[in-house]
Every structure is written in structure tokens, then in C-alpha cells.
């Protein structure tokens, strides 16, 4: 069962559940932020986009204190796969489950558009369905999506292969960074490899006529990993 956490102010929770249930055909349930435990049988956790608690303090800063986040942390520490998109990525960074921070976009505007990202690392549990170097077309929609890391942190992420997705041009070449992220980083994973955060929205690219199917490669990889009983080494 795939647990989609619902914070007050989550917007893409229903869309994520729709993508998993109606498109990928797996069991997905919304889990209310006030729960202190994940439902029995949870195989993966998804933190959706939106504006949790209004994001009035700092994106994701309040959500990390949600009762459910303690359960998500335990789940992640036990090796369970956790995927955070957009606000979910911000929550993961605020909670310390991923390194770095997300800051206001370079031009200070909210941006909603389709961008290209290159798959830097094709491996379970999040990118096994894509070949390395594959360029995906996915939407972004955020005001605070500039991934920011110190040069030392960025070097370490690169060395460990933790940069999973990178903004690029349509042909995979340089360019296409919509928000000023350090190193064109669009998505990173933790060292163990079971926690991924990304600014683009795979759940809004799962139907050919509505945003394309590239997002299904990422979510489908997660489905494959769960069904294969994937665990971090």
C-alpha cells in the first residue's frame, strides 16, 4: 500500500493518489497529518506538493512537526522508500531527511511550466524504468524551488551519486534551469538511496494527453521496487 500524506494545505495529494491508483493500478491511500502511525502494510510513503499549513513561515517548516512525520522518519530510517515532490521535497529538507535547502526562485516569481530533466542515475527504487541520460519532460510549479547547497555539500552529493535528476535543455544539454538551483539540481536522494526529493511533479505527467507520460517512469519505478521487495543495501 502506498501512503500519500495529507497535510492541511496539501494540493497534489489527490492527484498523487489518482496517478498511483487510476494510472499505475496500485493501492494508494491518503494519510491525515495528525496520524501518529502509518497504516499497517505501508510499502512506500509519498509527500505531495502544495502549501502545507499555508507555508507562512518557510516552505515545509511547519509540516516537519506534524505527528505523522515522526512515523515517516521511522519508516525512512528502516529503509522504506519515501518520495517527496515539490512541497514534499521542502518538507524532507526541513526534516533533515535530505540535505540542503530550497530557496526563493532566482527571479522571485512562482513558475509553472514544463521543464526537461536528465536522469543522472537510473536505479531502484525511483528511476529504474529510465536509462541513464534519459531526458524527461515534467512540469514544475513552485515559488521556492532553488535547491541550495554549499560547494562542499554539492561535491559530496555528486561524488556519492546522490544527484538523481538535473535540469537540462530539451536535448539533455545545459540550460533549462527554471529556478536557479545549485548545480542544476532538480532531485536528490539520501545516502542510503531510499529517500528522494524532487521539485518537478511526476504525478502531473502520467497521462499522454494531460502532461505526457514521463512522470509515470518515476512513479512506475517506485511501483516496481515495492513489488520486487526492494530494500536499501
Amino acid at each position: 500500500m502506498f501512503a500519500v500524506v495529507q497535510f492541511p494545505g496539501s494540493n497534489d495529494d489527490r492527484d498523487m493518489a489518482f496517478a498511483l491508483k487510476c494510472v499505475l493500478g496500485v493501492d494508494a491511500r491518503l494519510v491525515w497529518h495528525a496520524e501518529t502511525a502509518l497504516p499497517a502494510g505501508t510499502q512506500a510513503v509519498l509527500l505531495p506538493g502544495g502549501f502545507s499549513y499555508g507555508d507562512y513561515l518557510r516552505c515545509g517548516a511547519m509540516a516537519r512537526f506534524s505527528p505523522v512525520m515522526a512515523a515517516v522518519r521511522r519508516f525512512a530510517e528502516a529503509g522504506g522508500p519515501v518520495l517527496g515532490t515539490c512541497n514534499g521535497f521542502q518538507v524532507l529538507c526541513e526534516a533533515g531527511l535530505l540535505p540542503g535547502v530550497l530557496r526563493r526562485n532566482r527571479d522571485l516569481h512562482f513558475v509553472c511550466d514544463f521543464v526537461h530533466v536528465r536522469v543522472e542515475r537510473a536505479a531502484p527504487p525511483f528511476t529504474s524504468r529510465a536509462a541513464p541520460g534519459r531526458v524527461l519532460r515534467l512540469p514544475v510549479k513552485h515559488g521556492e524551488g532553488a535547491y541550495t547547497a554549499s560547494p562542499e555539500l554539492l561535491a559530496r552529493l555528486e561524488a556519492n551519486g546522490q544527484v538523481v535528476l538535473r535540469y537540462c535543455g530539451p536535448d539533455g544539454g545545459p540550460g533549462g534551469n527554471p529556478n536557479g538551483s545549485t548545480g542544476d539540481v532538480a532531485g536528490i536522494r539520501n545516502e542510503a538511496g531510499n529517500v528522494l526529493g524532487l521539485m518537478p511533479h511526476p504525478e502531473h505527467a502520467v497521462e499522454a494527453a494531460i502532461g505526457g507520460r514521463d512522470g509515470a517512469l518515476l512513479l512506475g519505478s517506485l511501483v516496481d521496487a515495492v513489488q520486487a521487495g526492494w530494500t536499501p543495501r
Binding site: 489527490r14 492527484d15 510549479k141 494531460i210
Partner: protein
């Protein structure tokens, strides 16, 4: 009555509240005594132009509002039409003009918040928004500031609340220098048998207040601010602008929708303009009941609020509900789970009176109906503007022909009115809820319909909002007909069948006979076009007094159309999709440049009698488009509007994922500039792998159609009779000009782009 904040009331004080001597006498007659201060506040907001529609309602009555699909016409919080399989679309457009000029970000944000509440109040989940926004010239730093603020406000609220903004329109014109327009449209989807109304029914039922606490913000915002012209004191009115909290709104939406899946809610309405007063009076009036309530129970965020303030505050994100007796705790519990306050503040009564208590005093005791349903109605004098004939004078023979059509096309694409609006809509979440099939930038947005449980359907709704204010200034009736025709045509270009309309009538001061004449003419045009196209008007809003120092805006009757497409998998797009396709012109361009963008941009003239809309042709054209999409006879359909054929062709060439040129030939014996830049209504550019089946269908349905060439190459080439080259432009260059139209001006303004 000597409750806190009360003071003696006389005619002079009534006048300060915007009431006339006539209205004052009427109040005395209704009450049989002088009103309390709180009661004066109630009358002043309920009888304000904004809430009572007193100048417009006798004219609005003539609009066609019924039809086979119409489930709810005007008079409720929003209109509703059936879309089949037990589902309904609920929609409305509303203005937030005056507040947005004073405080653009919050003014626009709360405009979005208000229209969302009108829709989810009906039980519908809001799924898509449009915005129609108009500013003074973009070269003016003040209007750059207003544009940035309004766009940020619309984006912030819509993005945070999780409702996609899927389209809209933007105008820059000197007539909006003193009064910008911000019209917000929202559409929601609901099970047709689960539509909720704003009825305070059932004597003894509890009246529940839910949402944000009440503060001093927005007192007289809608009533006084939006019901008077701007002048030197306008800046002082900033405190009347409300502040929005989209997070609270998001929680309100979820809590209300959850409640409305059950049977505990009897009636519900948002507290919008005139706050608690308007919502309680309207709910009681519609149900023929009364309400008694105790203001001490209202959740408050400021100390020492007077009853007057509590009744008139326009604090945002508040709802008034009538619940089934005995279920109040269950209702309040749902709100509490979403982190919201909800309390019982009164009961429904059977005596038709509004009784309001505060600290043991009765501060309001008024019969409901004379205030709400039977509010004053004016028959203001109307007179054609003395200079109207002058405006309409245009001798085309005296207008110098375009010397350089290529340069003219670039000048038009670079004009902020015609150039790309991506700078605006990229700041809006266009995708949330996962239904956006066609995004902004085309003729209409197309949004797939899901059921409330998330099940996708084969239905999609097409949405468009339009008004060309220049045409309305030249002839308000013809201009409004053109706005209806264009909105419906844009919807039809996706393949959808236009179902119904909503409208926002933005005009100047109705106390001037010329403005009243414009308003009357526009409403007549709206009715005529709605009738002819079979698209009833199911909701709307009137915004008057858009005037500063006696200078009014151009008449701006904004029209939004909603259409249904099923199955949505077959739909047309507004750009060319492949090379080698036949380009077919549907409809016949006439030799006319009256009121065109070309005439304004290249000759500095706004003049002429607007080109007549042939509504019978228009209806046939829409039917042809629906059939052609259904039968796969075309893949591209793009409306010819502002900037004429040349601009429409350029957009079709560069608006898709790949630039695709076209090589076209016309045999029309007319001025080349009239063919290229004329704005004859009812003309659509289509493209299909093969022209013949489309031409045959057009013949059958009585729509003039001809093949004019093929797509392909990197250039847009248009030839006239004998093969003379009328236009030859590189598509990539046109695209660059189009895309830079807004950013280059915003950068030149010195601020961040």
C-alpha cells in the same frame, strides 16, 4: 437602544453612508422609526449599487437565463448547468476592480477567494479559474506595479488553494489608467442532485458561523468603495481592502465539501460583500424566513468590535450555514478537524424579521424582504453619447494602405495587447488537480472532468473569457455581441459545444445618462447574442463607478463561455501540428478595418462601426467545428480576432511545440491590409491532413470554406491574387517578437522582469 458604538442617526449621516433622501424616507417607512446606527449600516450596504444592482436590475431581467441544461440561473451564488451523467458545472465571474487598484496584490487575491467561495458554496469543487485583467499603458510605472501586484495576488491565492488558473485575457489601454479591472472566473463540478443553495430554511434550525474570525477589515469595501467614483480620497480607502488567507480558504473548501456530502447542511452562503449582513439577509429572504442572532457569539480577532463593525466587516474566508437542528455539533466538529472555528450564532425564525442582539441589546430589528428582495430599483435616464457618431466615422479610402505588412505584423505581435501573456500565466499553477488538457495561450482552456471520488470521465469543459473594449466603446451593443460570439467561438474551436455564459459588466458612473445608455445597450447585445447562440446567461456581476475624476473606462462587458466536449480525447488545438497539412479558411473576411488593432497600432486611430457579427453564421460555424472535431476532419482550429488573419496565422505557426510555417494564397480582391489585419468576426483558420472532407462538411452545414494553402517550412507566406507576395516572414523571428512583448517592457521599467 444604547448598545456600544451606537449613535444618533439622521439624514445627514445617511447621506455619508451613500444613501439618498428617497432611500432615507423609505427606511423610515419600513421601520416606522429612525434606524439605529447598526441598522443604518445594514441599509447602506444592502442598498449599495454593488449589493442591490439598483441601476442595472430592471435591464438584466430581459436576459435569456433558461435553457434545457440550466439547473440554476442568476440569483444564487453561482449559475449551474447540467453536463450529463448526473454532473453539473457551476460557474460565475466577478469583479474586484476598486480594491485591486488601491492594493493590487490583496485586492486581486481576495477577488479570487470570493469567486471560489461562490462556487464551493453550491457544493461544487472548484476546478478551474480564468482571469480577465485590464490596466493602463504598460509604459506607465504605476501600471507595471499594478500588473505585478495583481498577477502575484491571483497566483498566490489560486496556487495556494490548489485550483488551476487555466486561461484569461489581458488588456492595456489608457482608458484603464484611473481604474484597472480585475475580473475573476471560477468553475466547479458537482453531482447535479447535490447542489446546495443559500437558503435559511427550517424554523428553529441553527445558524452557524464558520471560518476566519471577524476583524475590522473591509468595512464598506464593496458597498462604499465599489459604489462610488475614485477621487483624491481614494488612497484613504486602503483600510477598506480586505486581506486574503488562501490556506484558510483551502481548509474551508475541504471542510465544506466534506459536510455537503452528507445531509446535515440545509443552506450555505459565503460572507462576501457586506459580510454577515448580506449573507444572513439573502439566505433568509430566499427562504422566506427570518433569523435571530447574537453578535456576542461571533468569533472576533479584534477587541471591542461594535455591532456595526461586526455586521459590516468583510473579513475573508467566512461562511454562514444553516444546519439541521440537532446536528450542529457534528457540523462544527468537521470544521474543527480542519483547524477552523465554527459556532452557532443564531436560529432561523418564522416571522420574516432579522433580529440581531449584542450585549443584551437588540441592535437590529428589520423585516427581511424590504431590505433584500424588494430593495430600491432605479430607472436611470439614458442618452446616447453626443460624440458616438463621431467615434464611428471612418472612411477606409482615406486610411493610407499598409506600406510594410511584415513590419506591421511584427508591430502587432510586439503590442502588449497581442503579444504573449506567458509572463503572466507562468506565475499561475495551471495543472493542479491534473485535468488541464489545453493550457493558457490558445483559444480556450480545456479541462477534463473528474467525479468527486476522483474517477475520470470522458467529459471536458472548455472555458474562454473575452471582451474587446475598443469595439464596445465604438458601439456597446455590437461590441458586446462580438464578445459573446468570440467567447463562444473560442470554446467551439476546441470542438466543444458552447453551453452557457457568465458575465461581468464593468462600466463608469451610472448616474451619467451616457454611461447608463452604454450599460443598457451592452445588456441588450448580451441578450441578443446569448439568445441567438442558445447560450443562456446563468450568472453575472455588475461593477459600476469605474471612473476617476469624471473619466470613465471604456464599456467593458466581460463575457465568459463554458462548453462541453465529450469524449474529450478528440479535440482540436490552436497551433499547426504537422507540415504538409491543408489550411482551410472557415468564414469570409470582409474588406473592413474598423476598430481593428492594426488601425490603432499602425494609424493611431480608434474609429469606425465595428464589423457586424452574423449570429446565424456564428451558430453554424460552432456546429461545424464540433462536428469536424468529432469526425476527425480537422486537427487545428484557431479563431481570427485581435490583429486579424496575419496574427492568427502567426500564432498557429509558432504556438505549438515545433515552429511550422505555411504557404497560403488568397484570391480576394480587396486591400491587402484589410485581408491581413481586418477583424471580421466568425472567421476560423483550420488545418487538416486533407481539405476535402472538411470542405464537404462545411458545404453541408452552410459555412463558407476554402482551402488556402499548406503548412510547412520555416516561413509564413501569404500571396494575393496573381501570386503577389503580401507577407513573407520568418516564423522564428515572429515568435521571438511575440514572446518578448511583455518581458522587454517590464525590464525597461527598471524592475525585475
Amino acid at each position: 437602544m444604547s448598545a456600544p458604538g451606537e449613535r444618533p442617526v439622521d439624514l445627514a449621516l445617511a447621506r455619508e453612508h451613500g444613501l439618498t433622501e428617497d432611500e432615507w424616507r423609505r427606511i423610515l417607512a419600513i421601520l416606522g422609526r429612525a434606524p439605529s446606527f447598526s441598522e443604518l449600516g445594514v441599509f447602506s450596504v444592502m442598498w449599495s449599487e454593488h449589493c442591490s444592482y439598483k441601476s442595472s436590475k430592471r435591464h438584466l431581467r430581459g436576459l435569456p437565463t433558461r435553457g434545457e441544461h440550466v439547473l440554476q440561473g442568476p440569483g444564487e451564488n453561482a449559475g449551474a448547468v447540467a453536463i450529463g451523467d448526473g454532473l453539473a458545472a457551476v460557474f460565475k465571474i466577478e469583479s474586484h476592480n476598486h480594491p485591486s487598484y488601491i492594493e493590487p496584490k490583496q485586492g486581486a487575491a481576495t477577488g479570487v477567494g470570493g469567486i471560489l467561495r461562490d462556487v464551493f458554496t453550491m457544493g461544487a469543487r472548484p476546478v478551474a479559474s480564468l482571469d480577465s485583467i485590464r490596466f493602463g499603458p504598460l509604459e506607465d510605472p504605476k501600471h507595471q506595479h499594478l500588473l505585478r501586484g495583481v498577477v502575484e495576488g491571483i497566483g498566490h491565492y489560486g496556487n495556494c488553494v490548489g485550483v488551476a488558473t487555466v486561461g484569461g485575457e489581458t488588456t492595456f489601454h489608457p482608458c484603464y489608467r484611473g481604474n484597472i479591472l480585475v475580473n475573476a472566473f471560477n468553475l466547479g463540478v458537482v453531482e447535479a442532485d447535490r447542489i446546495f443553495l443559500g437558503h435559511a430554511a427550517g424554523v428553529g434550525n441553527p445558524v452557524i458561523y464558520a471560518g476566519s474570525r471577524t476583524g475590522r477589515d473591509g468595512i464598506h469595501g464593496a458597498s462604499l468603495l465599489a459604489s462610488a467614483e475614485f477621487d483624491e480620497t481614494t488612497e484613504e480607502k486602503r483600510p477598506t481592502v480586505q486581506v486574503g488567507d488562501p490556506f484558510t480558504e483551502k481548509c474551508l473548501i475541504e471542510a465544506c465539501l466534506e459536510l455537503m456530502r452528507g445531509d446535515d447542511v440545509v443552506g450555505i452562503q459565503d460572507m462576501g460583500a457586506a459580510g454577515l449582513t448580506c449573507s444572513s439577509f439573502e439566505m433568509a429572504s430566499r427562504a422566506g424566513t427570518g433569523i435571530e442572532m447574537d453578535l456576542d457569539l461571533v468569533p472576533q480577532r479584534a477587541a471591542n468590535l461594535t455591532p456595526y463593525e461586526l455586521l459590516l466587516s468583510e473579513s475573508q474566508e467566512r461562511m454562514l450555514l444553516v444546519a439541521r437542528a440537532g446536528r450542529e455539533d457534528a457540523v462544527c466538529e468537521v470544521f474543527r478537524r480542519w483547524g477552523l472555528e465554527a459556532v452557532v450564532i443564531g436560529r432561523v425564525t418564522g416571522d420574516g424579521r432579522m433580529r440581531v442582539r449584542f450585549r443584551g441589546h437588540t441592535v437590529v430589528d428589520i423585516p427581511v424582504d424590504p431590505v433584500a428582495a424588494s430593495s430600491p430599483e432605479l430607472d436611470r435616464p439614458a442618452r446616447e453619447p453626443a460624440d458616438l457618431r463621431e467615434r464611428q466615422k471612418l472612411d477606409l479610402a482615406g486610411v493610407a494602405p499598409e506600406e510594410d505588412p511584415g513590419a506591421a505584423l511584427e508591430a502587432l505581435l510586439d503590442d502588449p495587447n497581442l503579444g504573449s501573456k506567458a509572463w503572466i500565466w507562468r506565475q499561475y499553477d495551471q495543472l493542479v488537480q491534473g485535468n488541464t488538457i489545453l493550457r493558457p495561450g490558445g483559444d480556450a482552456a480545456l479541462v477534463r472532468v473528474k467525479r468527486d471520488d476522483g474517477t475520470p470521465t470522458a467529459k471536458a469543459l472548455a472555458l474562454a473569457v473575452d471582451c474587446n473594449p475598443r469595439l464596445c466603446w465604438l458601439d456597446p451593443r455590437a461590441g458586446t455581441i462580438a464578445a459573446v460570439a468570440e467567447a463562444a467561438r473560442n470554446v467551439a474551436c476546441t470542438g466543444a459545444r458552447p453551453l452557457a455564459l457568465t458575465n461581468c459588466l464593468n462600466f463608469g458612473n451610472p448616474e451619467k445618462p451616457e454611461i447608463m445608455w452604454e450599460l443598457r445597450e451592452a445588456i441588450a447585445g448580451l441578450g441578443e447574442a446569448a439568445e441567438a447562440l442558445g447560450t443562456p446567461v446563468v450568472s453575472g456581476n455588475v461593477s459600476l463607478y469605474n471612473e476617476t475624476h469624471g473619466v470613465p473606462i471604456y464599456p467593458t462587458p466581460t463575457v465568459a463561455a463554458v462548453g462541453l466536449l465529450e469524449p474529450w480525447q478528440a479535440h482540436a488545438v490552436s497551433h499547426f501540428t504537422a507540415s504538409g497539412y491543408a489550411v482551410v479558411l472557415l468564414g469570409e473576411p470582409r474588406e473592413d478595418l474598423a476598430g481593428s488593432a492594426w488601425l490603432a497600432v499602425r494609424r493611431g486611430l480608434e474609429a469606425g462601426v465595428p464589423p457586424r457579427v452574423d449570429l446565424a453564421h456564428e451558430k453554424r460555424l460552432h456546429a461545424l467545428l464540433a462536428r469536424a472535431v468529432r469526425e476527425g476532419l480537422l486537427v487545428t482550429a484557431h479563431d481570427v480576432s485581435l490583429g486579424g488573419l496575419a496574427v492568427a496565422l502567426a500564432e498557429a505557426c509558432f504556438s505549438g511545440p515545433a515552429e511550422i510555417g505555411a504557404d497560403l494564397r488568397f484570391e480576394d480582391r480587396m486591400r491587402p491590409d484589410a485581408l491581413l489585419f481586418g477583424e471580421t468576426p466568425g472567421v476560423v483558420i483550420a488545418a487538416a491532413p486533407d481539405a476535402e472532407p472538411l470542405l464537404a462538411a462545411a458545404r453541408e452545414m452552410g459555412v463558407p470554406a476554402r482551402a488556402v494553402g499548406r503548412t510547412g517550412g520555416a516561413r509564413l507566406r501569404v500571396r494575393g491574387p496573381g501570386g503577389a507576395v503580401w507577407l513573407d516572414a520568418e516564423v522564428a523571428r515572429l515568435r521571438a517578437v511575440f514572446e518578448r512583448a511583455l518581458p522587454r517592457r517590464l525590464e525597461a521599467g527598471g524592475g525585475r522582469p
